[in-house]
């Protein structure tokens, strides 16, 4: 077999110290990433009776329950918006995050069969798990449009930032997902901690309530309002509501703070994942 160009040379050696991120390799395997996302989505929808409807029902029913108990009974404010609209909008981003965490945390362990038999950059696995949530998000978005039409609330120019906020959600979810999926390989109880973690995180994020509720408390502690952005989803949820529903909140600093935390989580998550990746096939 004659080839005009020299064949690629790969050197296999024990990795010492910091492992390179090898983003170029991830790009080379982008088709595999696509197929894994395709597989996850197809299988998810094939196995359920409700199919794609579940992607809509979950945030919708949660919004309904929140409206009754938090909006009406508890009387929580909602930035001047009708509570159902307020909560559904926030829940869209939140559901993406929660689902991304729960899918990615067990993704590596769940792919044990693949990992022990085939080579590909393992980062592909949790990333595919998180990306598959984008499909659900896309399915649930039209309902938001319907609700907006129903309540007569239209977005301003800020709506152009919505894709960027979705990207930030992706960054934050992937960051946490990488940490969880890598930790879960070594410590199997991580998987059981995740539902609890997600539940607590929900209350700490301004989904049920607006961020404006927190500002006075934070000020009393001597902290600026945007310090709540240490929770990356705070900026995402609050920002997405502002982008889609034109709330008078100007969450710029909050979004910026969340963006910082989000990227820190992503980069540190990728670093930790690459560090422990070499022992996956032996431990999983």
């Amino acid at each position: 077999m004659n080839s005009a160009e020299p064949l690629p040379l790969v050197v296999i050696e024990p990795t010492r110290g910091l492992a390179a991120l090898r983003l170029g390799e991830l790009w080379a395997y982008r088709e595999l990433l696509y197929f894994l996302v395709w597989r996850d989505v197809k299988v998810r929808y094939k196995q359920t009776v409700l199919g794609a409807a579940w992607a809509i029902l979950q945030p919708l029913m949660t919004a309904a329950v929140f409206t009754i108990f938090f909006g009406r009974l508890a009387g929580i404010s909602s930035d001047g918006l009708p509570y159902p609209l307020f909560s559904y909008c926030g829940l869209l981003m939140w559901t993406f995050f929660a689902q991304g965490l729960s899918l990615s945390s067990n993704s590596v362990v769940g792919s044990a069969q693949l990992i022990t038999k085939v080579y590909f950059p393992r980062l592909v696995i949790p990333i595919a798990a998180v990306l598959s949530g984008l499909v659900d998000l896309a399915v649930a978005l039209p309902i938001l449009a319907i609700l907006m039409w129903h309540y007569g609330t239209w977005p301003a120019l800020a709506v152009l930032t919505a894709p960027l906020l979705a990207l930030l959600a992706l960054v934050a979810t992937t960051g946490v997902g990488l940490w969880l999926s890598a930790l879960n390989v070594e410590y199997r109880d991580v998987r059981f901690v995740v539902p609890f973690l997600v539940q607590l995180w929900l209350f700490v994020t301004p989904v049920i309530y607006p961020a404006s509720v927190l500002a006075p408390r934070l000020q009393r502690l001597g902290l600026p309002a945007w310090s709540w952005g240490i929770n990356p989803m705070a900026g995402v949820v609050e920002g997405f509501r502002w982008a889609m529903l034109d709330t008078p909140t100007s969450p710029g600093p909050l979004i910026a703070a969340s963006a910082v935390t989000g990227f820190v989580l992503l980069i540190s998550g990728a670093w930790y994942f690459r560090r422990v990746e070499r022992s996956f096939a032996d431990v999983v």
Partner: protein
Amino acid sequence: MTDVAIRVHDLAKQYRIGERQRYKSLRESIMKTLAAPFRPGSRRARETIWALDDLSFEVQQGDAVGIIGRNGAGKTTLLKILSRITEPTRGRVEVRGRVGSLLEVGTGFHLELTGRENIYLNGAILGMKRAEIERKFDEIVAFSEVEKFLDTPVKHFSTGMYLRLAFAVAAHLEPEILLVDEVLAVGDASFQKKCMGKMGEVARAGRTVLFVSHNMAAVQHLCPRSILLENGRVSRDGETAEVIQGYIRSLDETPVADLSRLTNRQGAGHVRFTAMRFFDDTGAELARGVSGQPVVFAMDYLSQGGRSLGKVRASLAFYDKFGQVLFNCSSELTGAGLAKLPPRGTISCRIPHLPLSQSRYRIAPFLEVDGEIQDWITPGLPFDVIDGDFFGSGRVYPPGWQGVGVLVPHSWDLPSEDNSS
């Protein structure tokens, strides 16, 4: 000029034995750290094994090399390192060319997806680009013979169909270097034949092939050169026939009747042979066979699940002391057909006139249930034969021919002189 495709230098891989047994939990790790100052003495060093130890060899481009050795010798670990699935502990490997690994057939197959969908998925997992899969799609389907079921979920496939489809995808991988790990030891006879044929094609097309197998006949057929691994080291490296001889000589040579603890075997294992004994026609147990005399090979078997077995095919292959295949006795060929058996019992094969001369041979019992290989003891158990009167002439096979080939009943017709002296 051929280049080096794979260069392995002082490769070593260490495993911690405890690692596989228990998963750590955060709670335990935290407790251990907290309790550490209070624990007397030093922690017991964790037990480790060296699956590979100072392994070195080179493979040129276009070589087809067999990797043989007992279970646990390190063959699969070597392939895993070459496939970059696991990292070496020490040493260095240089690989020139794209590597395709067949460590298992059907990797990544999802039961809920259809045959068509799984072709794409499996192809992508093995490293094929989408364009490549589409280009070869029709070939893959034709090779697998499952056209009618392409759009049925794979969970409805029979084991045979599943394997054929999985292998069809894998067989159309076109990497420069192909690593194959005993994938061929699954499926029924026609599937095996297809696999062997395809592997032969790949080797002849000039690709570098590393073939791990327990099937000595297959290794001999495909690979001019073989490497014998023993305890993680290269024990022999050279012409396949010689390496196989060395391997067989190194195996434990005491004839063993109890097979229940034997580990050197292949197959799914739901049904296993538990014992192998020899009898003559009167029912007396024999220690060895006699040339020309009837021998009954009685193989006890046990089904783990306690279920009865359908579509059973049993066979007993005979090899000479060099590992060359001599002949095969198959229950299917002799009209016993594809039988249905109780969960435990004894399968017997009777050879009316043992066509073997005095020597040591190897016999490999094989059991297949419903298209899936359950137990295959290869490279086989030792079987001794002593001289007997095969030809009815009172004469025995000449010394130079002892143990070579098989004895065949025959007669000669020689012309006589016209005058009678």
